[in-house]
Subunit: 243 residues, 2 copies
């Protein structure tokens, strides 16, 4: 059973995460009560950087660049080269001394690590203003994600078609998720209904939740949650403003 807390609730909103044991060096001893061959001690903060690497590599591919050094990538992204090399080294050796990394190969590799080499179907709960905007956003599809079904508790909205999908009643959520084996959910309900929605998603077998409602959700350990919260982002920036 997962003994590792991937994210403490507040960190979904923020950054930095505590996992477990150091990790370095060899291994193969008696510790690890959790070696999924996968989720093997890799800091979540590293995982959260990988999508940026992928995005940046894509942009290099667009420009026709075929190889890149950690230094160049680092400059583009705004981190240190050492950090990029260390991050990648958690997963293997993908570069060549003197040459750097093959852009296409590295991009594919990181995508495979993140399991982006497939399409993830998602359910979207709460079809108010935000829900409509999300359902119409084309950025997801271009990134391994697809909104497969829309849900709202308001019977007046049920049946309306948004971007090719009908809005369905919440009572169908769990069954739909199970039937279609959907493991990713988006919450766009009002704040007060977010937790109950999360509970239903969990009942449906959700493993990842993107939460737009400004609340801390309580979910089982095996569920990952990330929050989208522009207000908190703004509120933490004003601290630094010097008048």
């Amino acid at each position: 059973m997962p003994a590792i807390a991937r994210t403490t609730p507040i960190e979904r909103q923020i950054e930095s995460v505590s996992s477990a044991t150091p990790s370095y060096g060899v291994d193969m001893d008696l510790d690890d009560e959790e070696d999924e061959l996968n989720n093997l001690n890799i800091p979540d903060v590293v995982i959260r950087r990988l999508p940026i690497y992928v995005r940046t590599l894509h942009s290099l591919i667009e420009h026709g660049q075929v190889s890149v050094s950690s230094e160049e990538l680092a400059t583009l992204i705004g981190v240190t080269a050492a950090q990029i090399r260390r991050d990648l080294s958690y997963f293997g050796k993908f570069g060549k001394q003197g040459r750097g990394y093959d852009v296409g190969y590295l991009s594919n590799t990181v995508e495979r690590i993140l399991k982006l080499d497939r399409t993830w179907n998602m359910v979207l709960c709460g079809m108010g203003k935000l829900g409509h905007a999300i359902a119409n956003y084309r950025g997801f599809m271009r990134s391994s994600f697809e909104i497969a079904a829309l849900f709202d508790s308001d019977e007046n909205l049920v049946g309306e078609e948004v971007n090719g999908h009908p809005i369905r009643p919440m009572r169908d959520l769990v069954e739909t998720m199970r039937r279609e084996h959907i493991q990713v959910g988006i919450i766009a309900t009002p704040r007060k209904n977010a937790q109950e929605t999360a509970d239903l998603l969990v009942a449906g077998g959700v493993q990842a939740i993107l939460n737009y409602a400004p609340v801390i959700l309580k979910v089982p350990d095996h569920v990952t949650v990330r929050e989208i919260d522009p207000v908190s982002a703004l509120q933490s920036m004003t601290y630094y403003i010097e008048d």
Copy 2:
């Protein structure tokens, strides 16, 4: 002149919202001579937690609760009590042994720390679909923020009124910001135009940028940037999904 790099570009992007670590190598010389009386070495990760504390305290106030212990607050938020006490201790002593914290007082105090005890006017650049949604979102106003002016480079959009504000041409941006002393900007332009928009915001004197475009912005050190990036958030969650 702050010598501390508040945000490492990639960290703005990591996680739905977020940004920033205190600098490591950045202020290389004479040790840390940087005591703004304010930005005094307090870890950015702490600053990013404060809005959650505020939000949670508000919810307690709504429920009529007048005092709260670090333990209770911690349970609500999903962190440890020690962390909350440590975080607050960076700024002073706000609790009473045996009693905990006065909810209203603590809320006000943290808001004052974050400079939320005033209204921040913002400019919004890029009035496409997302821009319209943001302009109509009422969550900002309820949180010390107000969208004061809208901008788009498309002359066909200029003049259109959204939520009571006319869309203005980008060429007016810098002057408007200076005239109205606006220090917060939101970028909702296409990816490829985000950097040029950021440059204009900087020219206008921006100090905080909320960036919805999926790019790493290069800005001067005194500017804080946080990114809203649901795609990256999703892409980092799939890693953990066990099929």
